[in-house]
Symmetry: C2
Subunit: 315 residues, 2 copies
């Protein structure tokens, strides 16, 4: 392995937070040698519990993550936070204040916060999150929280990499149940109704319970629904109690771990091949002439694709 | 080309809506011969205008899409609707009523509605949407509306395939502007503040204008912000006027068309290679033994990935 990686790994092992951040950046950017670095990280990881926190925009996920982190730190845990911001596809930066709001908690002892843009994740968002979690794990964090803003499929894929998923709902969001779409319902291990000091909180609880009861999955009927008012710290202790107990019983399911590893390997191969395709055809403008022909309708994209694949793969 | 595809294409050319639906399903499922069928579809397409309609959950996008469709049909357009539902990763079905609500408009003359699950899209969601749009285009639809529920990255990618994007906001969704995240702001061609009979509508307009003014992109400052009350049909005529005018001036930008075609080709190659990878390693369980070794920490996933790629690609 190259020197720069070795140095970073050595400094990380000594507890350097700055080098932890640098290593994450280099892995995110897929700098040469990242696979070798991750091989070493992998051997050092596997101890952390990973908790996904998701829900509709405006549900107060950042405040809740903040409060959960404080509670975990008070109980002696070393916490990593992966904050997935839907960022601009053009500027690469988030316009909103989530990162700023989060920065306060990052000053707590043993807390490491990493924001991730949903764009610019070269390996895809869920793989990038997996990498960061693994690196934090290797660094010694025993609990990693993944906070995702939004309820898109990409975000669902991210929280599915967690050992346990908290879905955060909130009263008074128009249609109530509308905000909690099907894909999210089925990955929830705990429902949190946040902003529970607002009107309509009981209706949201009833709505969630009704949807859970309607589902065919018997597991779902037993999913806890907890109320919090994160801005006042209310209900957070009970929530942390609940998911810590849940984590213990959850960690034994081997089938589920195997499925996740298989998915990780297949995704890694797909994304690495995709990177190779782009570097081969896109970078040097080799594709530009072909694209012009397609735009002018002299060729169709599907024949182009067939040709490119035939050139690429050992069939 | 195989007989079944030829038959479907011939029936489609005669106007069979049933065979249009069948062809879409076969393409979605990537049944053998789909690339050849799409080559023919491609030569017949290129006339339709594509409009993306997106925004936060509960913003009333389905009702608005319904009203826009009625207005377009009244003006003599032939409309296709692609409704992208975030569906269950487990059951594959949407639990909520969007499809039912939408079905009414599908009885209108010349309207064809297709719901797409966000899961099960073998080629990825944005590619699947592109395919369906192209097929509807070839079938003779002159306007195709893509309605996406949610504001995730995958959904952003879908609406980015459109010629024009309407971002639907709504008063009283908690933080207001919170729901309209950065990635969405920058792909909007028109902002629609729906449910404009509600309190707080003017604040939403001001919030959007402020965000647009803050942006570095000068184009953004001129983006129209229109108010609608879709449930009462209010403001819909003006909205349709605005985007029809916009479509005419928008269609001339060749650079932008080339970028989109390049992205389509690269995505198609990536996804086809990914399908090949999965069919080779996953289907026959070849990967299961390796996965077990990784779970037992006898191997690491990164070495496995390196090996798989070396076997796959003509380097």
């Amino acid at each position: 392995m190259r020197n720069d990686w070795q140095q970073l790994l050595a400094n990380m092992a000594k507890g350097s937070v700055r080098d932890l951040a640098r290593l994450i950046t280099k892995v995110e950017n897929r700098e040469p040698g990242w696979l070798d670095a991750m091989k070493i990280i992998h051997t050092q990881s596997g101890k952390a519990h990973v908790i996904g926190i998701t829900g509709s925009p405006g549900a107060g996920k950042s405040t809740l993550t903040d409060q959960i982190t404080r509670e975990l730190v008070a109980r002696g845990h070393s916490v990593g936070i992966v904050a997935v911001d839907p960022s601009s596809p053009f500027s690469g930066g988030a316009l909103l204040g989530d990162r700023i709001r989060m920065s306060e908690v990052s000053n707590l002892d043993g807390v490491f916060v990493r924001s991730m843009a949903t764009r610019g994740a070269l390996g895809g968002l869920s793989l990038a999150a997996r990498d960061v979690v693994k690196i934090m794990d290797a660094f010694g964090k025993d609990i990693v929280l993944i906070e995702t803003v939004g309820v898109g499929q990409d975000e669902v894929d991210v929280v599915k990499t967690a050992d346990m998923v908290l879905v955060v709902c909130v009263p008074g969001m128009g249609d109530g149940i509308q905000a909690i779409k099907a894909g999210i319902m089925e990955i929830a291990n705990i429902f949190v109704v946040n902003k529970a000091d607002r009107e309509g909180v009981d209706r949201v609880v009833v709505d969630i319970q009704t949807m859970l009861d309607m589902g065919s999955d018997r597991r779902q009927k037993k999913i806890p629904i907890l109320k919090t008012t994160a801005s006042k710290g209310k209900g957070v202790k009970a929530l942390v109690d609940t998911f810590l107990i849940g984590l213990e019983s959850n960690h034994e399911q081997k089938d589920w771990v195997e499925d996740r590893v298989k998915e990780e390997i297949l995704c890694l191969v797909e994304k690495e091949v995709a990177r190779y395709v782009r570097s081969q055809w896109d970078a040097d403008g080799k594709l530009n002439g072909i694209v012009k022909e397609v735009v002018d309708r002299k060729r169709d994209p599907y024949s182009v694709v067939e040709e490119m694949i035939a050139n690429l793969i050992n069939l």
